[in-house]
Amino acid sequence: MLRNTERREYAVMLAPYVIGIAVLIVIPAAITFGFALTEYDLIRSPRFIGLDNFRELWGDDVFHIAMKNSLMFIAFAVPLRLLGAVALALLLHKRFRGVAAYRTAGYLPTVVPDVAYALLWLWIFNPLYGPLNLALSGLGGPTPSWLTDPRAAQWAVIIMSLFTIGEGFIVAMATRQGIPSELYELGDIEGARPHFMFLRITLPLMAPTLLLLMFRDTIFSFQANFVPALIVTEGGPAPYATTYVPLFIYRNGFEYLRYGYASAATLTMFLATALIIYLQYRIVKRWRHAFVV
């Protein structure tokens, strides 16, 4: 049992976090959920309309496209980002000359401000003078119209997301470095080949961390395409090739001033995220036993 003075001390120490989380997250989230049941345009006071916003979302083709785009983005971006982070971690976890420079290079894109990063890619993807198409044509490859072809634009947003994997890379690298070297030495002595070691030692021992990264990246990826979609592709090419749920919410809220409707979309996105995380968890739980030697 805590004494009263201890209780007071804990309360004082926790207060900044509790107040911060309440004011910045919990209360706005609660208000958002409240707005989802209203019609609100910032000028007139909110008007309660029950589940009408959700009914409208259900029949809104643009929202359907946005949700489909978001799900497709997650389906490709999350595995590729995870793969990239793990590959970088496995390449760079050992010490060798110049490794610090490579690690920094791996992490650097993550700390570039979103807008600057998006503007940089606007130049990279430029079909006429962008370095990407210059390189591709130099190699004799295809030179897609990155930002005007719907399919290419969707890939462009995915490609952009593949270089901001710094945090995942660092976490995966720390995890790999935490695996005792004796386990690999034992593998060497026992005649395990590299792929056997990867599947039976590295992957299972990194799995809990990778799982965490996957969950985290799924949540992140639902939201991460907002800036590129707004700045690089502007939600297009027409009609809505790169309109993802966050951009849909932004447009409804801040351009069409439909706060209630945007809140309902936000709540739907929140529920969709939770559902995906739950499904991933279920799949992983079943799949775990595949690791047994």
């Binding site: 005792p180 004796e182 386990l183 030495e185 034992l186 593998g187 060497d188 002595i189 026992e190 005649g191 395990a192 080949r193 056997f196 039976r200 030692i201 299972p204 021992l205 690791f291 047994v292 030697v293």
Partner: protein, 352 residues
């Protein structure tokens, strides 16, 4: 099983020389213990035998095969690590069978061999558990079972008991010895614990700074140390050392005097260092002998270690537990010339 031979094995890490030309033959079925302080090169030698370290110079043979440049998997050895190196995500059975599965042995055959190996070391009832559910001693057994399931030519054991508590260590030491007698396997055992070295080894190799100091049966290492380092390192409490001076037909070494001088006059012009083991120091409440003051008593059950000061020299005597001199009291010391070890003061070589 097979013999293992180091011939002129040198290992450099940059400018640091970890092994300086090690020559060592381990006979077929022999248990040899490499013992030495930290940095003596004992673990390096073991890792070189395993193929986990490349050697800078020299050769390593297992049986008739030169394995110096053969990767670890091709040497048919197995190793027990100090940390046991058990896979936390695998069951005991999967851990023991890891090497078999890695080499493509069929699941059913592997399961049978795993069971047999587990029974040999007494962990047959643990097969379905995971390492975190095991005690230190049980983990040790699992690591041993994994080492022997493949029936390797040579077993390499790297301080396998040092993570166990004292009581369990003594127990496992005896079990390991029994296992060796039963399997008649060639084993190299690395430890920094000289008691473990003496009790386990058919022969003991004492290393220091990457050099072999002495190789021989435990008894010989203890009774006839080849140099001052071995004399000091082997034995607990450690041997007492004093500068030795020969004058007028008498050898003086700390509080002790010996006449006639051993060695037929050959010691007359040498710088000497004399050593006497604590159990060979006689402690009496009365003269004859040289007086010494009792400073500290360490009671160790069946015996007592008496720390003494005599004319500026300090020494330890090992006496029966019933003898309990008071701290600060004066006792009288003597020793037999038969139990005197003499070393060259500059080289440390034995003159015995």
């Amino acid at each position: 099983m097979a013999e293992l031979r180091f011939a002129g094995v040198r290992k450099d890490y940059g400018s640091i020389r970890a092994l300086r030309g090690l020559d060592l033959d381990v006979a077929d079925g022999e248990l040899i213990v490499l013992v030495g302080p930290s940095g003596s090169g004992k673990s390096t030698a073991l890792r070189a035998a395993a193929g986990l370290e490349d050697v800078t110079e020299g050769t390593i043979h297992i049986g008739a095969r030169d394995v110096t440049r053969v990767p670890p998997a091709g040497r048919n050895i197995s190793m027990v690590f100090q940390s046991y190196a058990l896979f936390p995500h695998l069951t005991v059975a999967e851990n023991i069978g890891f090497g078999l599965r890695a080499r493509g042995v069929a699941r059913v055959e592997a399961a049978g061999r795993v069971e047999t190996a587990a029974k040999v070391v007494g962990c047959g009832e643990l097969l379905e558990r995971r390492p975190f559910e095991l005690s230190g001693g049980e983990r040790q057994r699992v690591a041993l079972a994994r080492a022997l399931v493949r029936e390797p030519d040579v077993f390499l054991l790297d301080e396998p008991l040092s993570n166990l508590d004292a009581q369990l260590r003594v127990h496992m030491r005896a079990e390991l010895k029994r296992l060796h007698q039963r399997l008649e396997a060639t084993m190299i055992y690395v430890t920094h614990d000289q008691v473990e070295a003496l009790t386990l080894g058919d022969r003991v190799a004492v290393l220091r700074d990457g050099e072999l100091q002495q190789l021989g049966p435990p008894d010989e290492i203890y009774r006839r140390p080849g140099n001052r380092f071995v004399a000091h390192f082997i034995g607990s409490p450690a041997m007492n050392f004093f500068p030795g001076v020969v004058h007028d037909g008498v050898l003086r070494a700390g509080p002790f005097e010996f006449s006639p001088v051993p060695g037929n006059g050959s010691l007359r012009d040498r710088q000497l260092e004399a050593g006497i083991r604590p159990e060979h120091v006689r402690v009496a409440p009365e003269a004859p002998g040289s007086p010494a003051e009792v400073q500290v008593l360490e009671v160790a059950g069946s015996e007592t270690y008496v720390h003494l000061s005599a004319n500026g020299d300090t020494l330890v005597a090992r006496v029966p537990s019933q003898l309990r001199p008071e701290i600060g009291s004066t006792v009288w010391l003597s020793a037999d010339a038969d139990h005197l070890y003499l070393f060259d003061a500059s080289t440390g070589d034995s003159l015995g």
